[in-house]
């Protein structure tokens, strides 16, 4: 193996953080929905995939990456709202497995719908013109788009944190995830809160799909491995914990990119092995509450 310089290592670390940013966004959406509704969204990978497709579609329609960046999460979130209202809501109180099973079936339908709409081969993507090229980070050149991924994720998660911690509605969300019964008694329409949280969670999934699109192939199957990977992140970080989702997302991204530097054939395996280790040492995840996991 060629000599691996310190600079290369740092660059690979940055690449890992850019990948981890996507994982963190996915896991934040998943954790938000779970923390509030105790629903594991098995269609999360499918929402990610729909986000990628719609992102490319809106980019073609409006010609502007920034318009697409606004329209895509709105559209995916709207699909999420419809799904919660008409498919998930009837299942509340029917056992914890049913919403999970339903969203699994939903992912089949979403995958097939995208195949009908956009064809079997998927759509070509490229990095938006404004974000092409490389920037010098002092450790070597780094693709601008990947740096943008890290920054954009920081902004999105920062905004979400402000919303949840600092606004009145965020207070209701936090209270509702702790004790929905009391919140309902206090006169809050908790069903609407759940609806909105599901919408936000799926919108973030769609946004992460849009952001990831220029770095990977966009096709109907792209969400299938992503679902498994976002589960890994959630289990490592601790279910329902937002800081856990962020830290674990970045960690998983870095582990993946470091393994692909030293032993590329084990890259996919490495993150699952990381999860197995966490399960052995700390079953509730890095930031999880002990009671929740088992």
């Amino acid at each position: 193996m060629a000599e691996i310089s310190f600079q290369l290592l740092l660059l690979q670390l940055m690449t890992g953080l850019a990948l981890g940013a996507i994982y963190a966004l996915l896991a934040v959406g998943l954790s938000l929905i779970f923390g509030m509704l105790t629903v594991v969204n098995f269609a999360h990978g499918a929402f990610f995939m729909v986000g990628a497709f719609l992102g490319v579609y809106f980019l073609g329609l409006t010609g502007s990456f920034w318009f697409s960046l606004v329209l895509t999460p709105l559209a995916v979130g709207a699909i999420g709202l419809l799904c919660e209202r008409f498919l998930v809501r009837p299942l509340y109180g029917r056992g914890i497995d049913y919403p999970l099973l339903l969203t699994f079936g939903l992912s089949y339908v979403m995958i097939e719908s995208m195949r009908v709409l956009f064809g079997l081969e998927g759509v070509p993507t490229s990095v938006p013109a404004e974000l092409k090229g490389v920037v010098d980070l002092g450790i070597g050149s780094f693709p601008t788009y990947r740096l943008f991924l890290i920054v954009a994720t920081a902004v999105i998660i920062g905004a979400l944190w402000l919303f949840i911690e600092k606004t009145r509605y965020g207070l209701i969300i936090r209270a509702g995830s702790r004790d929905p019964e009391i919140v309902r008694i206090l006169g809050v329409d908790i069903a609407r809160v759940w609806l909105i949280v599901f919408g936000i969670g799926t919108a973030i999934a769609g946004l992460s799909g849009l952001l990831a699109a220029p770095t990977r192939a966009v096709n109907a199957e792209m969400g299938i491995p992503v679902l498994a990977e976002s589960f890994v992140v959630t289990v490592v970080g601790g279910m329902g914990s937002l800081p856990g989702a962020v830290v674990a997302g970045l960690l998983v991204g870095v582990v993946f990119s470091m393994t692909s530097l030293f032993a590329p054939e084990y890259a996919e395996l490495s993150i699952f092995v990381l999860m197995a280790v966490v399960l052995l040492v700390r079953p509730q995840g890095l930031f999880g509450k002990a009671g929740l996991m088992g």
Partner: protein, 332 residues
């Protein structure tokens, strides 16, 4: 008078079938290939039915929703194929090896997965199952990687002086049927045992089961391994049937198929998984003629069942019959 006799017949018949459930299922499976349009479909339903039965042990009876059972199904398939191709083992030895290896993988995954509860269990089994998928995907020299494992041959053999042609689909069906029959008997035996009562009590109330002094963790691990053995056997049989092993056999989408078959047929019922596998594969067979978007059809049907018929086809029928039985009993 005649009315009473009529209302009495169905409950009595179902009670009789419930009492001799293994014999009833086997009798059905005996004539099954003769009524199907072609034997390949019957073979598929036989194999996937067994796969769903193994999965049902965990999902239907213990209440643990695993999304990693494709790992056991696939390991059963791959190891059966590998020992035939690489070591020239006879096919029935290979089935034993494949099944045993699936059980071993089940022991490892089960050991890790039962540390989590409820919904995490599903996520963790899914992710652990994907480890097996990627490991086999990368080990190209042994597994053929993306192209799958090819060239599993089964020699003809004689039994009681009769030469059997395994390439004849009907003969193949009845040869594999023998293994399915043995597995079904074992499953029925497990469910009828005190241990079977323990796993059902875990499903109903885990805390109370533990308070009664049962070692819940050990019971879960044991049923996990038993379930993976049954699924491994189904995988082994599929390797012999197809004479190839596609890499998809290990993917979590195939675990999802077990979930779908189980729920469509009726979870926690003895015959339900076969009904589910039959309906699923028959629908697939019919629908692919009309549309390439078969997954959407499956997804919609599955969602409708989750929403409106969570008992599944067979489960709903049994529920109705039982209600009538109670009704008839009251009338008397």
């Amino acid at each position: 008078m005649t009315k009473t006799a009529q209302t009495d017949f169905l409950p009595r018949a179902t009670a009789f079938i419930a009492k001799h459930r293994v014999a009833a299922v086997l009798a059905f499976l005996m004539i099954f290939p003769l009524v199907m349009p072609y034997e390949a479909l019957a073979l598929n339903i036989l194999i996937f039915g067994l796969y769903a039965v193994g999965f049902n042990l965990l999902f239907g009876y213990t209440g643990l929703l695993s999304f990693g059972h494709a790992a056991f199904f696939g390991v059963g398939s791959y190891l059966t194929g590998i020992v035939i191709i690489r070591f020239g083992l006879s096919w029935w030895m290979a089935i034993a090896v494949g099944t045993a290896c699936a059980g071993l993988v089940g022991l490892v995954i089960g050991f890790l997965a039962i540390r989590t509860r409820g919904i995490y269990f599903s996520m963790v089994t899914l992710a652990l199952g994907q480890i097996v998928y990627y490991a086999f995907y990368k080990a190209e020299n042994w597994t053929g990687g993306e192209n799958g494992l090819r060239g599993i041959t089964v020699e003809n053999f004689g039994i009681f002086g009769i030469q059997l042609d395994i390439l004849n689909p009907l003969t193949k069906y009845y040869v594999l049927f023998v293994f399915v029959a043995a597995a079904l008997w074992l499953v029925s035996r497990i469910l009828a045992s005190p241990f079977g009562a323990v796993i059902e009590s875990i499903r109903e109330n885990e805390g109370r089961c533990a308070a009664c002094g049962y070692d819940v963790a050990r019971a879960k691990l044991l049923i996990f391994v038993l379930s993976s053995l049954i699924c491994g056997l189904a995988g082994a049989l599929r390797a012999l049937h197809l004479s190839i092993v596609p890499i998809d056999s290990l993917h979590y989408l195939l675990s999802g198929q077990a979930v779908m078959m189980c729920l469509l047929g009726g979870m926690g019922t003895f015959f339900g998984p076969f009904v589910g596998a039959g309906v699923f594969l028959y629908l697939e067979d019919v629908a692919t003629v009309f549309t390439t978007h078969w997954m959407a059809v499956v997804g919609v049907i599955f969602m409708l069942f989750v929403l409106y018929f969570p008992r599944g086809i067979w489960g709903t029928l049994i529920h109705r019959w039982q209600a009538r039985r109670v009704h008839a009993g009251e009338a008397r």
